[in-house]
Symmetry: C2
Subunit: 295 residues, 2 copies
Amino acid sequence: MTAFDTALEEATERVDRELGRLLPLTDEVEAQLFEAMRYAVLNGGKRLRPFIVMASSGMFNVAPEQAVRVAAAVELVHAYSLVHDDLPCMDDDDLRRGKPTVHVKYDEATAVLVGDALLTQAFEILAHEDTSADPKARADLVLALAKAAGAHGMVGGQMLDLLAEDAHLDENQTVRLQRLKTGEMIAFSGEAGAILARADHVHRHALRMFAHDLGLAFQITDDLLDVEGTVEQTGKAVGKDAAAGKATFLDVLGVDGARDRAAMLAQQAKTHLEMFGSKAEPLRQLCDFVITRRS
Amino acid sequence: MTAFDTALEEATERVDRELGRLLPLTDEVEAQLFEAMRYAVLNGGKRLRPFIVMASSGMFNVAPEQAVRVAAAVELVHAYSLVHDDLPCMDDDDLRRGKPTVHVKYDEATAVLVGDALLTQAFEILAHEDTSADPKARADLVLALAKAAGAHGMVGGQMLDLLAEDAHLDENQTVRLQRLKTGEMIAFSGEAGAILARADHVHRHALRMFAHDLGLAFQITDDLLDVEGTVEQTGKAVGKDAAAGKATFLDVLGVDGARDRAAMLAQQAKTHLEMFGSKAEPLRQLCDFVITRRS
């Protein structure tokens, strides 16, 4: 195992511990809601976004116990989006990471409410003084996350994705779809460290651009894995996105073109890190990891 | 028309203008999302919660252009909760204020995303510097709204409401259900003015208690209207809640007992306003309005 693998594993464990702590059970009548929230989040996810938050925060020497709260908030938003995306009226997925999705394990109403509760809790975490003693940092984190997750970000991307099943999108439209659906949240993960540290605009923007390019590279390799992978590796039915007529980069670039594009984007992502010197090494290694991963 | 009627109408118009401004349309492919968000919000709602925000802010001389943003944020959360609550997997309602619900007018997927987007936008509005120049006020608003709306507030109440269809709840459990489902958001509306003004804990707590009692009185009269009202007056099928086996105050108090309880709570709500003197007159009149309203 390389030093990067160890760093990734340690960050994942730290974030998972924090998520477990932030999602306690209850013995009230509505216990099912809290059980299902844990089920949706503590699922062995890759925690890409939390790792970016932890690594970008680490460059500014933000206290890990504060950074991990932002990392957890980002993961709650990611988890909520998957729960709602899996609903019968959306992508209608029965399996997520090889396990029944929330609406299958519980029921649809619970899945709707689990998503709502996770999204809301993410903002509660960011606004709490344990995340930062500086209220400006807290408010800025909320503002940036809301923009990334809302109608002009992730939710807008999901709407576009649903509509794309009937409309053939060109390359520009596909890039826009992916930027909204996954890119904005990954870009937020990159800039989160700079916001927490109240770093200047130049550093914040550089991290945003870095994460944006990395996110696109990640999405393209996701599409490649969807076509090439096995169910065991990806935990979802292979080729499902393609079969559903989803607009992916493979449609517009082909397999070889997509692989080249991912490598180019990972390289481009690194150029945004130059101003950070050796401190950015974990993020550089993440770029290599993203385009070489097998699951 | 009384002076209070005029004040209520003016506040409603101001909030509706702000909501219209905060919910622009778009000519992007995903235009349907933005159209449906407007449809869900600009529906002639009573704007009880926004009025409480405006009136509580007015007591502290908060600038109306700031208070109205908080009022709008509260209404977006209320609107989102109705859109999700109306879904087939939840209460399965086809009509809301006499018009097709969002999933009927558009489709279920759009309704899920509309709710998600409205909830997210509420936090974006609160965290934006146009809401307050003081970042502590912005972060505190986000924190308080998230607590009121989340798993320990409104969403928890909705889960409890779904489970209550199979479990007969006693009076204490019914009070708890209503407190979570509607009470916490109304309590937040009351304290919002104090948070915006960075008022001391005593004033903030008094407004919270006021709004809590008012909210219960409002909920009881809602239940009474549900039984007594006509479709034209309430815009939803009469007796629907009772038929669905929903836990209401009528089940545990009866019609006369419920009417007495509402009057008692409205009176009790006013006692929390004593420290505010004549400045609280609009909120006192609201108490009378809530228990005498016919729709």
